[in-house]
Amino acid sequence: QQPVQSPQAVILREGEDAVINCSSSKALYSVHWYRQKHGEAPVFLMILLKGGEQKGHEKISASFNEKKQQSSLYLTASQLSYSGTYFCGTWGLGANNLFFGTGTRLTVIP
């Protein structure tokens, strides 16, 4: 049930944009996005719900295609602080817990 993320890693210069994709083999109720810096706790970014409601971060946006069971996270005008590993977490229909994706390591360089 683990969702697959792509790319596995990406390097950006400050100010560049990035897209991180998350794909599940199961029908989804919600997708949760987190950023984790090395050795620290995952920090909530955004949650997308079945039916289109979106809650979360002001500088980062995301989309959720329920039919394709996919979500994408859009990072625009990246800052050094955006560096970290991004995880999507998917909550499948009928599931009782969150499954985290394979992770995308994003590095922003000056």
Partner: protein, 116 residues
């Protein structure tokens, strides 16, 4: 704002020993989740509690047990520790106002367990 508190932050144990990890959720959060994260891996769900009752169980070994107490704090008890148990253990909490699938999980700072 208050966050999730975990203790201890670091723990070193020998094989076959036992360990107890504690989690204090954000005030008024009644749902607690435990995750295990190995080096370079994603967090793996272990177990969750809602209103002091076990809500769901994931890939938690039989050697591990957990409970949520009347004050909503939770403890993860780990026995017969193995080298492979070395990992970061996170606790997360959510308010329990809506369905779990709609709620943000707020993660604590984690307990780094090293088994020698």
């Amino acid at each position: 704002a208050a966050g999730v508190i975990q203790s201890p932050r670091h723990l070193i144990k020998e094989k076959r020993e036992t360990a107890t990890l504690k989690c204090y959720p954000i005030p008024r959060h009644d749902t607690v989740y435990w995750y295990q994260q190995g080096p370079g891996q994603d967090p793996q769900f272990l177990i969750s509690f809602y209103e002091k009752m076990q809500s769901d169980k994931g890939s938690i070994p039989d050697r591990f047990s957990a409970q949520q107490f009347s004050d909503y704090h939770s403890e993860l008890n780990m026995s017969s520790l193995e080298l492979g148990d070395s990992a970061l253990y996170f606790c997360a909490s959510s308010p329990g106002l809506a369905g779990e699938q709609e709620e943000t999980q707020y993660f604590g700072p984690g307990t780094r367990l090293l088994v020698l």
